[in-house]
């Protein structure tokens, strides 16, 4: 019936005033700090601030994509097309730049494609009532197909604007971040504000809570549902641009499987896949968790290829189970 069990709430209300709704996020934060602590105690170079900055530099595009995914998942939907849209955006940018279009125009076109595809998928999902999983899966095939159709090998970007955006280092003391990190933070802030303080954002939560009810309450369900897929498309497009900054190229097979990373990040951040509960901040933490896991493994540098996978799986498992045990003791929840 609800996201929280009856008896549990009673505990919460009468015993402690911990913000129960934010608890999963807090637990994620705690566990993240523990993981970071382990890294610092094991590897000397890990304590360097730049390591943290690098996590942001290296995962900025994933974070932006995951933020878009958060909107979709909050409504109870899912968007599998993000990875392909990221690749497609990077690919289109690279191809257009190669053809000599001015960077500003390229940026505009690249930023339009993703949301357009998202909008179309949202419309199909809403008007024809086809499950988001399938529609976005088709979108994923479509965008990936478009990538290889544009070029079957990677296209380097040599444009001045792109290279400077990619290589500009913004110094903070001895350390640095990139332009992408700033863009990422702006996206995160805008998204968090949208979800918390705009009607659109609140409607997103309402639809995730109960779509039927939201409709009967007179909320613009259709518009909102289409909007979240458009937003996700936009975020993927921004992510694609960031990725093209990051790699200074467009490659047809880049960002394969990124949708799973994004979903994982969102869920690790405490957002429920059935929708209706979660925060952008949680998603940030989720991405950081994935980033730190990867950094730990690289710093270790002794893992075999397959052990790498097993260890990633194991760390994910440990994290999720701990989060689960500490965070929310929900015996069961029914979706409707």
């Amino acid at each position: 019936m609800s996201t929280t069990q009856l008896s549990e709430r009673l505990h919460g209300a009468t015993r402690w005033r911990l913000p129960r709704r934010q608890l999963p996020v807090l637990v994620s934060l705690g566990l993240l700090l523990v993981m970071y602590g382990i890294g610092v105690s094991q590897y000397r170079a890990f304590s360097n601030i730049q390591v943290i900055f690098n996590v942001f530099i290296d995962n900025g595009f994933l974070l932006v994509v995951a933020v878009g995914m958060t909107f979709v998942i909050l409504t109870g939907g899912i968007d599998l097309s993000v990875g392909s849209v990221v690749a497609m955006t990077a690919m289109v940018s690279a191809a257009l730049l190669r053809d000599g279009l001015p960077p500003a125009l390229v940026l505009l076109i690249a930023l339009l494609i993703g949301p357009t595809l998202g909008f179309v998928m949202g419309c199909v999902i809403h008007f024809f009532e086809i499950q988001p999983f399938i529609v976005t899966l088709a979108g994923m095939f479509f965008a990936r197909g478009l990538c290889t159709w544009i070029s079957s090998s990677s296209i380097p970007i040599t444009d001045g604007f792109w290279t400077s955006a990619a290589q500009e280092r913004i110094r903070i003391g001895d350390n640095f971040v990139t332009v992408s990190v700033l863009i990422t933070l702006v996206v995160v802030a805008v998204a968090a504000y949208t979800l918390a303080y705009t009607r659109l954002g609140r409607n997103v939560y309402a639809i995730g809570g109960n779509q039927q009810s939201a409709l009967l309450m007179g909320l613009p369900v259709g518009r909102t549902r289409i909007a979240v897929y458009t937003i996700s498309g936009l975020c993927s497009a921004i992510g694609g641009i960031l990725l093209s900054f990051y790699t200074l190229s467009g490659a047809p097979l880049i960002a394969v499987g990124m949708e799973l990373d994004a979903i994982a990040a969102v869920v690790i951040g405490g957002t429920l896949l059935i929708g209706g509960a979660g925060y952008v901040l949680g998603t940030v933490l989720g991405v950081l968790v994935l980033g730190v896991i990867q950094t730990l493994i690289t710093f270790d540098g002794t893992l075999n290829s397959w052990w790498t996978k097993i260890v990633i799986g194991g760390l994910l498992f440990a994290f999720i189970v701990l989060q689960r045990l500490l965070g929310f003791r929900k015996k069961s929840f029914s979706t409707r």
Binding site: H11, A196, R199, R202
Partner: protein, 515 residues
């Protein structure tokens, strides 16, 4: 009133669902400043008429005008914008949002596009205070009892500056006091010139507040009458379409024969059973053939106590004995194996599997008890299901209809049927008559009497004291999650006396246990 022009008219509305003629040429009109009761049995088409009006469903024929202008809403959003504010039958809110947000979502107070949370919470508190409801509006709605949720839904609807307010069974989960508050608000709004459509199965409420009554039967219009010109009995007859003796039969049953209850080893005996944070330890015995009523205000913990018997929640203290033997009930399965059945008050989330058919829903508990390897033979399923469809007059009488397509009251009957076919020794009924029309209610009450006469033990929870009094051999009263007393239902017991106990009056001193 009839000299003014109607604010709303619906003419010759028909609505077909696959295989069901939910509405067939129904006319309906609504005048400003009136409370108009929409009456009919379960499945008569009341909710459908409302949903057609607000554009949730399209209609197959007919026309709707609002203020003389033809309208056709594409959905509740447009209807709301046009000034038609609705509380639908099942509580339709978002459990994951706070109470305040549920009231204001879609029309939150904003500054520069930003939602002003504090302002919103303040206004929500004020609004609920008007309904005599004092709670933390920042809490999640899902944590509130059904009654509170219902009140929140009402608050949301009345706060909209509407010309037409539609309330579809708003009172089914409210207690007397809350109903009173609602009536007060309705009168106030009516006096402001708002037209109100009111659907309920409580005749008293209709006669208390409605100016005019429209009766539907089987999707057809029976007629429209000024309340004053339609005596109660005539109304009932119009609703069910025949002369009714069920009501009279009910009256005969008033007061149970206490001597008929067997003594000896109780079917179940709870000793200091309790759960931290949920129900204080209580003791209660139920004998063969005994109906124990449970009374108390909303949120007094009746449901929670009942859930402990069934293992739906696990008790963390106290003991439970079945037939004198101590048992540990770990979960519903353990309870079912000991022939305990529990009919939840919340049919939508805890009762039905909407996608499955009526037959499958009815057979579910029986099947679960037999284990998956021994399916109930199809012939026997059909027999059983047919029997209970008839016994409880579930309509439409199509066992293969997905249960979500049934009207609210009929869904309730399906849940009831599910437990009856398991032939339990203890049947726990939590608000079994909520949202059920008067004929069916009588039917269910008769059934309870009949079952207990046949030796079944029944724990009967209801917000309607008359009903509790009529059926129970003894009444357990709960207050603030404590069982405050048990009262034998002898001649001296009446609703007033129970009320006083509930309210925490003098009675509890001569009550035996606790406090």
């Amino acid at each position: 009133m009839s000299d003014t022009r109607p604010v709303l008219t619906m003419t010759a509305i028909s609505k077909f669902f696959p295989g069901v003629r939910a509405l067939d040429g129904v006319d309906f009109r609504l005048f400003p400043g009136e409370v108009h009761a929409l009456m009919g049995e379960n499945g008569a088409g009341k909710s459908t008429l409302i949903k057609v009006l607000t554009g949730v469903y399209g209609h197959d024929t007919g026309a709707i005008t609002l203020d003389g202008q033809p309208v056709s809403f594409s959905g509740p959003m447009e209807a709301t914008e046009a000034g038609v504010s609705t509380v639908y039958q099942e509580v339709n809110l978002c459990p994951n949002l706070s109470v305040a947000e549920n009231i204001f979502i879609g029309r939150q107070p904003r500054r520069l596009g930003a939602v002003r949370w504090r302002d919103m919470r303040r206004r929500a508190s004020a609004l609920l205070a008007r309904l005599n409801l004092d709670l933390d509006v920042g809490e999640l709605l899902g944590n509130q009892s059904l009654a509170v949720q219902q009140m929140v839904a009402i608050a949301r609807a009345v706060d909209v500056q509407a010309r037409v307010l539609i309330l579809d069974e708003p009172t089914s989960s409210l207690d007397a006091d809350e109903v009173k508050q609602l009536m007060r608000i309705m009168r106030q709004l009516r006096d402001e010139g708002i037209a109100i459509v009111f659907v309920t199965h409580f005749l008293d409420q209709v006669y208390e507040i409605a100016d005019r009554i429209t009766v539907l039967r089987n999707g057809r219009l029976v007629g429209e009458y000024p309340t004053a010109e339609l005596p109660q009995l005539a109304l009932v007859e119009k609703m069910i379409g025949k002369e009714l003796d069920a009501l009279e039969r009910l009256d005969e049953q008033a007061g149970r024969d206490l001597a008929a209850v067997e003594t000896g080893t109780p079917v179940v005996e709870a000793t200091d059973l309790g759960k931290a944070g949920s129900v204080e330890p209580f003791s209660l015995t139920i004998h063969r053939g005994e109906v124990v009523g449970m009374a108390g205000l909303l949120g007094s913990g009746r449901t929670e106590a009942a859930r402990l018997f069934f293992g739906a929640d696990r008790a963390d203290r106290g003991r439970l004995a079945v037939d004198g033997r101590p048992v540990s009930i770990r979960g519903p399965i353990a309870a079912i194996e000991r022939n305990i059945a529990f009919c939840s008050e919340n049919r939508r989330t805890e009762g039905l599997v909407g996608e499955l058919s009526v037959r499958e829903n009815i057979i579910l508990a029986l099947q679960a008890a037999r284990g998956w390897l021994r399916p109930v033979p199809r012939r026997r399923q059909d027999e059983l299901v047919q029997r209970y469809i008839e016994a409880l007059s579930i309509r439409p009488a199509d066992p293969e209809m997905p249960v979500r397509n049934l009207s609210g009251g009929n869904q309730q009957k399906v849940v009831l049927a599910r437990w009856l076919i398991t032939e339990p020794r203890l049947l726990i009924l939590d608000e079994p008559t909520r949202g059920i029309d008067i004929g069916a209610k009588a039917e269910i009450q008769r059934l309870v009497v009949q079952l207990s006469d046949g030796g079944m033990a029944v724990l009967f929870i209801s917000a309607e004291l008359e009903e509790v009094l009529r059926l129970s051999h003894k009444v357990a009263v709960m207050r603030d999650r404590q069982l405050v007393t048990e009262l034998a239902n002898d001649d001296s017991l009446d609703a007033d006396r129970i009320m006083r106990v509930i309210a925490g009056g003098a009675e509890q001193k001569d009550g035996t246990r606790h406090e």
